[in-house]
Amino acid sequence: MIQPTTSDAGRPKNLLSLQIDLPDFTLATDEEKAQQIQTRPSVSFMKDAMRRLGRNKLAMLCLFVILLFALIAFITPYFYPYTYSKQDVTASYMRPFQYSQKEIARIENGQSVFPHIMGTDALGRDYAIRVIYGTRISLMVGIFSALIVIIIGILYGSISGYFGGRVDLIMMRIVDIIYALPDVLIVILLSVAIKDMVSMSKNALILRLGPGMISIFLVFGLLYWVGMARQVRGQVLSIKEQEYVLASRAIGAKASRIIRKHMIPNCVSVIIIVAAMQIPSAIFTESFLSFLGLGVSMPMPSLGSLAADARNGLVSYPYLLFFPATSIFLVVLSFNLLGNGLRDAFDPKLRS
């Protein structure tokens, strides 16, 4: 009832006529066999991950957007004809590409006037450069916060995980306690306090940074690294059990060497993923504080304070809201999507 299963077509027809000395039935050489196996080239994890990331078009687009924003934000101020603080009450609330009467007069005199691409604000300041400065603040906050988290988190997490035992127990208890603190509340509280101190300070840098930035960096340095520390510790704990680390220790490698050579390279994925997630939350926090008036000191703009100021005359001049809103949206969206791409590329668990 059951016939042998038929297989591929295209085999020699009359097999009875075949002779055993036919070339088909001679043993195949090793080379011939080897040709049959198409091995996929083995690549290192990092290279593989980078390749996967490179293939993720959306993530690459987001990376491009971020780089573009960064380029604009850091280079434009050097040659832009307007500054973020120069007021001109005769040119207040101009729509994008609108010229004030003074400027029209100058144009009629044959002078060239650079257009206000995004119009001007209530005090007649060029809005485009203000949005650019605001974006710069957002990007800086995002990047530096991530750096702070990376540095402290890695140090703390790897020490805790590496030494284990009682050291680990105490260090992780501290992390637990910090983890339980309501971090955003503390940021706000610190900003309130620092705002008053900043207003009395004569230090130029502190004045420039403003209470929002200082308290954000402070709080990221004090509180936000715990997530990173936990992840790194977990990773280190599991790597510690691996044979190659045991072997390394057996030949007398020092702790610092083992951390450097084995732990950190193996933690890279976790570090990248957690850091990428950190950036949008830092940008949000800064803009939130600026919106409350706790951010950068006047007249320095931030996307949050721009959005807050835009509420005056919202119906008549909605573009004052749209420009900073779009900017923060695009920056955070790009970081979010890039973060997703990084997670997909670097999380071996998700590989299928």
């Binding site: 097999l15 039935f25 001679t26 198409q38």
Partner: protein, 352 residues
């Protein structure tokens, strides 16, 4: 009418990297009360064959061809409701890893009663009584207590017993055991196999035993299918497969297991090479690159399955070559090889 007939079953996984033909033309049939063993290494398509029978494949896998008939009724393409009526009722399955195969957030009682009341008219009380009865049957002591526990509170062996109890609660005609002992300790393995043997004799259901352990097959099975790269390399009654293997892969497998009764000087010979990459299947016989006797034709064309002895089919060019050499090969009118003479025709006899 056979209990279960599988014909030219083909199942593929459509991954981003390409179509993976996990099962590529597998045929067999199963009678009441028989034990069929499916052996093969990881990725040979054993489990996918089982999941295809019950249609519990996960995305992106799906049956692309062939037929599965249960008591003459075609299951491939049948409405979901009909398949559901068979799953867990007429055909049950137990899985490799009892640690993860029970829902962690419900009690054993909940899950057992759910299975029983789904396919029978028993009310809640009666279902619970049946659950107790089943737990006793599979040798779980203090079943009252176990019913109230969660999966994580039981040992691996105990969980597999629960799985068996759940699978057999509705008195199925077929029990599919997908590597039921792989994840268990050696001593527990023996207990579980013994239990399955006892239950099979006691309840009389047919079993499809999927394993990579030839020892398991030898003790339990009436018939055996040896799978390689999604196809049946060789199939037949257990005695034939073990004492008269006609496929180089089977021979290799048998050479690689230790045997106390054999001469002490006999060496264990591992099969060289690595398992096939299903994404890059070699043309011709998938085993050829690892086969010591591979001929030029093996690398080029897939061997047709021919009858090599009574109740014994094999897909290996070596049989054809030998048949031609000894003049014992029979072909059909187009010259296709069908059987080695002397082998009793499949018609009317017991076949797979």
């Amino acid at each position: 009418m056979r209990l279960l007939e599988v014909e030219n079953l083909r199942t593929s996984f459509f991954t981003p990297a390409g179509e993976v033909k996990a099962v590529d033309g597998v045929s067999f049939s199963l009678d009441h009360g028989k034990v069929l063993g499916i052996v093969g290494e990881s990725g040979s398509g054993k489990s996918v064959t089982a999941y295809s029978i019950l249609q519990i494949l996960t995305q992106p896998g799906r049956i692309v061809g062939g037929s599965v008939r249960f008591r003459g009724k075609e299951l491939v393409g049948a409405p979901e409701s009909e398949i559901r009526a068979i799953r867990g009722n007429k055909i049950s399955i137990i899985f490799q890893d009892p640690m993860t195969s029970l829902t962690p957030v419900y009690t054993i009682e909940n899950q057992l009663v759910e299975a029983i009341s789904l396919h029978t008219d028993r009310n809640k009380r009666q279902s619970r009584d049946r659950a107790l009865e089943m737990l006793q049957l599979v040798g779980i002591n203090d079943p009252e207590k176990r019913l109230k526990q969660y999966a994580h509170e039981l040992s691996g062996g105990m969980r597999q017993r629960v799985m068996i109890a759940m699978a057999l609660a509705c008195e199925p005609d077929i029990l599919i055991a997908d590597e039921p002992t792989t994840a268990l300790d050696v001593t527990i393995q023996a207990q579980i196999l013994e239990l399955m043997d006892r239950l099979q004799k006691q309840l009389g259901m047919a079993i499809i035993m999927i394993t990579h352990d030839l020892g398991v097959i030898a003790n339990l099975c009436d018939e055996v299918i040896v799978m390689y790269a999604g196809r049946a390399a060789e199939r037949g009654i257990a005695r034939e497969i073990f004492y008269n293997p006609k496929h180089e892969y089977t021979k290799g497998l048998l050479r690689s297991i230790p045997n106390i009764e054999n001469d002490e000087k006999e060496q264990l010979v591992p099969i060289s090479g690595t398992p096939v990459d299903l994404l890059n299947l070699p043309g011709g016989c998938a085993f050829a690159p690892r086969c010591d006797h591979a001929m030029k034709i093996c690398l080029r064309e897939h061997p047709r399955e021919i009858s090599v002895a009574q109740y014994h089919l094999s897909s290996c060019w070596r049989n054809v070559e030998e048949g031609i050499r000894t003049g014992m090969l029979e072909t059909d009118e187009t010259g296709e090889p069908i059987r080695i003479r002397e082998a009793i025709p499949a018609e009317g006899g017991r076949t797979l």
